[in-house]
């Protein structure tokens, strides 16, 4: 579903690699967590795989389509929820979803059915005809998620999806993640919340200083319980300890 091979990314005017020789392979039907402390390279990796940032070398394939060489088909198979919940605020919620559905060529019947389902699930029915600029932080996040799911993507990428959300919204998003995954799709998401990751993920990758340190299978006995220790061991430098 997602294949990242030898990914290198260096920012302009920077000496060091933000991401260095990163390799990942995600299967269909799994929830994959991406962990790392601030500045470890999580968001950079996500921005490379969504096509926001160009990368120095390596390859990223989504459902067999290379994001560098065949970006349109790669993007058609992906839905992305950014960490800052930014959307076109001058549109109404309905206009925004319809715009995204047009771009992903979703049939009218499908978009109507899916939108109705999501509106009920996220309790946004009353707000869908309002301009997005009047939405709260959580409502903006929800409309972003609906926009990302309206074309039923095979790969759903979320960058810090729970940041600033109320408990009810978090529960709703977790339900959608499970539902999406059960349909054979893949979820790749970054988070700082170790408990959440341990609770819902099938596998977890830990990145530190741009390098992938470990990929942990959480179905293996004991791995869930020791996730926090493993994470801290990898990401705590000597400097931090002092």
């Amino acid at each position: 579903m997602l294949e990242i091979s030898h990914l290198y990314k260096k920012y302009l005017n920077s000496e060091r690699f933000a991401v260095e020789d990163l390799n990942l392979s995600l299967k269909g039907g799994e929830i994959f967590g991406f962990l790392g402390k601030n500045g470890a390279g999580k968001s950079t990796t996500i921005k490379c795989l969504t096509g926001i940032y160009p990368y120095s070398s390596g390859s990223i394939k989504i459902c067999g389509h290379d994001i560098g060489k065949d970006p349109i088909n790669a993007k058609l198979n992906m839905g992305y929820v950014p960490d800052d919940h930014s959307v076109y605020e001058k549109m109404t919620g309905g206009e925004y979803v319809n715009y995204i559905a047009d771009l992903y060529k979703v049939a009218r019947k499908d978009r109507e059915e899916r939108l109705q389902k999501f509106l009920v699930q996220f309790r946004l029915t009353k707000a869908i005809d309002l301009q997005i600029k009047s939405y709260s932080h959580g409502m903006k996040q929800k409309i972003c998620i609906i926009g990302a799911l309206i074309h039923n993507p095979k790969l759903w990428v979320l960058d810090e999806p729970m940041m600033g959300l109320d408990p009810q919204s978090m529960v709703e998003i977790l339900k959608r993640m499970h539902e999406h995954c059960e349909a054979g799709n893949t979820i790749f998401f970054s988070s700082h919340n170790l408990d959440l990751v341990a609770k819902i993920c099938d596998r977890v990758a830990i990145i530190n200083d741009g390098k992938l340190y470990d990929v942990i299978d959480l179905h293996v006995k004991g791995n869930k319980e020791t996730l926090e220790n493993t994470f801290l061991k990898i990401t705590t430098s000597e400097e931090d300890m002092q």
Binding site: Y11, L12, K47, T50, G51, I52, Y53, P54, P71, I72, N73, K75, L76, M78, Y80, P82, D84, S86, V87, Y88, E89, K90, M91, T92, G93, G94, E95, N98, Y99, A101, D102, L103, Y104, K105, A107, R108, R111, E112, L115, I128, D129, L130, Q131, K133, S134
Partner: protein
């Protein structure tokens, strides 16, 4: 008291915070601004002198002074209401300041002082060149100069107190009409056209007067009408009366009475409504609309074009910058062309008329197309979407270009059509002018878009709109003016020294060359440059 001083200092720092005593760039910017400012004041002084001469010649020096104070008074009420709304009521820093250990009254007093100081300085700067010009033209007594500060105090305080009373109703009204986009654009276009038309008519009179200042530009009927109307201009005629030391008792009485009345009204409004209004979250109230959306399938091009249009159309700021300017362009072109060609014809000869028309149209087209130089920047926080979506960058930018072309095409068509209809040029010449202006508009649009791809400037605060002029916009305007001058001058000079056919060939070649170069500049490694942009 100390808190008020600290808060006041904060207000000034917010406004002039960019300045650093140690930075050479800051000093250069300051000196350049002051120089530019002095230049404008000088131009205002000379302009005012000419206007006062015109009125004096017709025996209407007093009326000129009353009209001046009427305009200033109206301007100060409008600008004062707008500043009061922005500084006192719109959340912004109010929310932050409320968290500090200061009282609401202290915040209010500091902000009010800030407004008064600002208003006082701006009134002084605006009024002084006019006062100097008046005293230079009309034989006034020594008391005139002494009375200027007194008049300025009244002129600042009365509109200021009145603005505070008007601010809350104005806010509610603005919020109510904020989403009536079509009405707003039509209304603003009309106001813009009327203001410009009035300005150009006055300018035309000034030109006529400068050509031959021995006779009055006003007919006897007009003089009688102005004199008759001006006597009812209250309270602005009292400012003039104080300066000229006439009707002193009545003037002081009325102005002082108005000042006390509005001050009392302001105190009552503030005491009753200030806190309540702040808590009501006035910025959001009524500013977001509701619209039933049907799930309608559109083609890729149509949906992106619609999104681009909505982003501009639903923003007062962008709507004014773009659509209002485009809608007002025919009126502006008509007046400028009429005056410019009449001056040119009289001073040089009929041959240069076409060149002047071309120059005028290209200058206005430059102003409209400069909007393209914020194509990427206007995406703001949503820039990431343009990269994530399964649509190529070329197509996305191409559709932006299409929108700009539709607007410039319509504006150009109406302008040329109007000039042909009003017999300012013939049909075939109109077609040629249309071609030159449209190809230049396309070229300038491509340049502007590419400049913004190379170096976009995202505004990530507030609603994320690009509100101040960026270097890209300045660059696009400078290039546009250069092309306008090049084409216009070539047309004028060649028509004068060579044949019209030769002029047409040369201007067409320049336009084609410019378009070809702009195509190359736009497409050269465009996708690579776009991909380099990182928000």
């Amino acid at each position: 008291m100390k808190n008020i001083y600290t808060l006041l200092k904060l207000e000034f720092k917010n406004k002039f915070g960019d300045f650093s005593y140690k930075s050479g760039k800051s000093w250069t910017k300051l000196i350049a601004t002051l120089f530019f400012f002095a230049l404008i004041l000088l131009i205002v002084y000379f302009g005012a002198t000419t206007v006062f001469h015109m009125f004096d010649k017709a025996g209407m020096a007093y009326e000129a002074l009353v009209i001046l104070f009427t305009v200033l008074f109206a301007y100060l009420i409008i600008s004062g209401t707008s500043s009061t709304v922005k500084v006192l009521y719109y959340k912004g820093d109010n929310e932050i300041l409320m968290r500090f250990p200061v009282t609401g009254a202290q915040i209010f007093v500091s902000k009010t002082l800030f407004l008064i100081i600002n208003q006082f300085i701006s009134s002084l700067v605006i009024t002084l060149p006019f006062m100097f010009a008046y005293s230079n033209v009309v034989d006034v007594s020594a008391a005139f100069v002494k009375m200027v500060p007194v008049v300025i105090v009244y002129l600042v305080l009365i509109p200021f107190f009145l603005s505070n009373i008007l601010a809350i109703p104005m806010m509610h009204l603005t919020n109510r009409i904020r989403n009536k986009f079509i009405i707003l654009i039509i209304g603003m276009s009309l106001i813009m056209s009327v203001v410009f038309a009035v300005y150009m008519l006055i300018f035309d009179k000034i030109i006529t007067f400068l050509r031959d200042s021995s006779f009055s530009v006003f007919s006897e009927e007009v003089v009688a009408m102005i004199k008759n109307v001006v006597q009812y201009f209250f309270p602005s005629k009292f400012f003039a009366d104080i300066l000229l030391e006439q009707n002193l008792l009545l003037s002081y009485g009325v102005l002082s009475g108005l000042m006390l009345l509005f001050m009392g009204g302001m105190i009552a409004v503030i005491a009753a409504l200030y806190q309540k209004t702040l808590l009501k979250n006035i910025e959001i109230e009524g500013s977001a609309f509701k619209r039933k959306t049907r799930m309608k399938v559109r083609s890729l091009n149509a949906t992106i074009l619609r999104k681009e249009f909505v982003q501009v159309f639903r923003s007062i700021n962008y709507g004014f910058q773009y659509f209002v300017m485009a809608c007002s362009m025919p009126v502006m072109v008509y007046f400028c062309n009429k005056i410019a060609t009449s001056i040119g014809r009289n001073d040089i000869g009929d041959q240069i008329s076409l060149g002047l028309t071309l120059l005028v149209m290209l200058i206005f087209m430059t102003i409209i197309t400069s909007f393209a130089s914020t194509s990427v920047s206007r995406e703001g926080r949503n820039f990431y979407q343009t990269k994530v979506l399964p649509v190529s960058i070329h197509r996305q930018m191409g559709i932006k270009f299409l929108m700009y072309m539709i607007v410039s095409f319509l504006a150009n068509l109406v302008c040329v059509g109007m000039l042909v209809f009003l017999k300012q040029m013939d049909y075939l010449t109109g077609l040629w002018v249309f071609g030159i202006v449209q190809s230049s508009a396309a070229a300038l649009t491509l340049y502007g878009m590419r400049m913004d791809i190379n170096k976009p400037q995202f505004n990530l605060s507030g609603e994320g709109e690009v509100v101040s002029n960026s270097a890209n916009t300045t660059g696009a305007v400078a290039l546009g003016f250069f092309i306008s001058l090049l084409e216009g001058m070539a047309a004028m000079v060649l028509a004068y020294i060579a044949t019209p056919q030769f002029m047409i060939i040369v201007c067409s070649v320049i336009a084609l060359l410019f378009f070809a170069i702009s195509l190359f500049v736009y497409f050269f490694k465009m996708e690579k440059a776009y991909n380099k942009i990182a928000k």
